[in-house]
């Protein structure tokens, strides 16, 4: 596949939008890292360096289609058109957050956008994706589900069960494996004996493909193909996206387990730079627009921080709300 060319079906606006989203993710993560001291949670996982996967994959689906996410969910949230203000406020633990401050970074979700939630349990998204896909199938809605997960998650039993069921029932689920070579501090080769996890697809009877996870167009094209197949009732695909996270596991992780050489090597392959160059070559954008987009993005991030700071802390009087649809008498003090 020649991913140097922009997909024919993308308008200029769409092509630029892809760029904007990737940049937004980058700047968003940069900002929360800077604000880590204010945010305080040690469990905030930035997506920096992996932007092309969420954005490329989500570009291949429609608004009505679903995604499930991981502990590293901000990128997926933004890629699925989630509101940055609501995202930032959630991470800040504020009433105005998308989950009213209940969930935090590991649980950002926007059900109005069919973004079914980041998840604190590694490997827990895919089993849920099965059900969403089944619902779509039973109701003949033609909707598909993208389920994101990591190389570390691949070794969870839940992944095995999910891929097997998706394959057997030909469910419209696409498994998007973000292979960033590490599960927390653990190198993939310490956790498994195979280099390519996509090899596992054949054991379930589905197609497995490998793509350059830093190339948004490649990710898009593979996902599109898988989505088309799924919509036609052809079932599931496993797409392994090779990538690397630039930052530590969390915004506060010292990241001593990876060499500087490795990090620098990967930074040379910045997904945003790669795509930007193509846009320039394709004369879709120029330096003025780039500048403008950068400024606009930073401004939006800044505004989201302002929004978050202005948003109130959640009202402690509401702490027991939303456990059940209709409140019941619960144990308390």
């Amino acid at each position: 596949m020649n991913s140097d060319e922009l997909p024919k079906e993308w308008s200029s606006e769409e092509s630029i939008n892809i760029y904007k989203k990737m940049l937004m993710i980058r700047e968003f993560e940069t900002r929360i890292t800077k604000d880590a001291g204010k945010i305080k949670s040690p469990l905030v996982h930035p997506y920096t360096g992996e932007e092309a996967i969420a954005v490329g994959a989500c570009a291949a689906i429609n608004e009505e289609d679903y995604i499930t996410s991981t502990h590293r969910g901000h990128g997926h949230f933004i890629a699925k058109d989630g509101d940055v203000n609501l995202l930032m406020a959630e991470i800040y633990g504020k009433e105005g957050g998308i989950c009213k401050g209940r969930g935090g970074s590991m649980h950002v979700a926007d059900f109005s956008k069919n973004m079914l939630g980041a998840n604190g349990i590694v490997g827990a998204g895919p089993p849920l994706a099965l059900g969403v896909a089944l619902a779509s199938k039973m109701r003949n809605e033609g909707k598909v589900v993208l389920t994101f997960f990591g190389d570390g998650a691949s070794n969870q039993g839940m992944l095995h069960e999910s891929m097997n069921l998706a394959a057997t029932w030909k469910l419209p689920v696409i498994f998007i494996l973000e292979n960033n070579k590490y599960g927390w501090s653990t190198p993939a080769q310490t956790a498994t004996a195979v280099e390519d996890l996509s090899l596992r697809a054949q054991g379930y009877g589905i197609k497995g493909v490998i793509v350059d996870g830093n190339d948004v167009i490649e990710v898009y094209k593979s996902t599109k193909e898988a989505v088309d197949l799924a919509r036609k009732g052809g079932g599931s695909t496993l797409i392994e996206c090779k990538t690397f996270r630039w930052q530590g596991q969390t915004t506060t992780d010292a990241d001593k387990y990876r060499s500087n050489e490795e990090k620098e090597e990967w930074k040379k392959r910045c997904p945003i730079e790669i795509y930007k160059k193509r846009l320039i070559r394709g004369e879709i954008i120029d330096q003025t627009m780039i500048k403008e987009i950068e400024e606009k993005t930073l401004e939006q991030v800044e505004l989201s921080v302002k929004f978050s700071k202005k948003s109130k802390k959640p009202d402690t009087g509401t702490v027991l709300d939303d456990i059940y649809k209709n409140p019941i008498d619960i144990g308390g003090n």
Binding site: A124, L128, L130, M138, I323, Y324, K325
Partner: protein, 328 residues
Amino acid sequence: MTTETIKMKGSDAIKLAIEEEMERDESVFIMGEDIGQYGGAFSVTAGLLERFGPERVRDTPISENAILGCAVGAAMAGMRPIAEVMFADFLCVCMEMIVNQAAKARYMYGGQVNVPVTIRVPFGTGIMGAAQHSQSFESWFMHVPGLKIVLPSDASDFKGLMKTAIRDNDPVMFFEHKRTYYYTNEVPLDKEFMIPFGQARKFTEGDDVTIVATGAMVQESIIAANKLKEENIQCEVIDPRTLVPLDKKTILGSIEKTGKLVIVDEGCKTCSVSAEIAALVAEEGFQYLKRNIVRINTPDVPIPYAPNLEREIIPSAKLIQNQVKNLI
């Protein structure tokens, strides 16, 4: 509406409820291991495949996480799935989807989503199932906010509570004691016969002792109460029917009258359902208590295979009778 009733056993009453709800609402479907052609390990779903077809009666691989995850995900997408875990003991391989996902989704996502899933769980002793096919885990789930816990003790309650469970908008754990599958009583045929959650049922009236029992222990307690009546000891046998929400009022009201509480529960004693009920009464009904609370449980032992050993440890009518007499 009909006021007709028909005598049937517990397992058939569950099936009837599921059948009626599947007929009424297209979004209801069932899934689990061997529930289709085979009809389920306890024949609860026999015949439903023929009736509703393989799209809505789904045989699954032996992948409990995928079964539960699929059900919970479908519920999030607006379906009303009923998933079966073949034996309660197998909950140990699929706690994740229940505890960290179904129970918490609504709260941790800030109220954005409902999870109207019903999880059916046959449990308890009585079939020489030994340590891994006999357990009672309902207290674990009472400890998990966000779940509702139902534990009927006879056929009519099975029907009325199953229908309520299916229509409920929160995740419901529906525990079915294997022995109670075979208990028969009169079951209303009314298709809108629904028993609300949080309403205990009183089987006998009396001033002397309150007996709170669940599942198969309800029958044992009724037998004991009837025997005790012959000796002029009047017991109230109360079945909470739903453990979350729990009908505190009926329990406390009875103890206000009797001043004495015996709890009968098949779970291993420590941190079982009986612990919560005892604690609740020690907190909120202490002023009524004239005696120490008595808990009758299976002791803290893995369930043995040999029938005489199993009988030795499972609370019986006889044991209840003796313990009540000791208390008085």
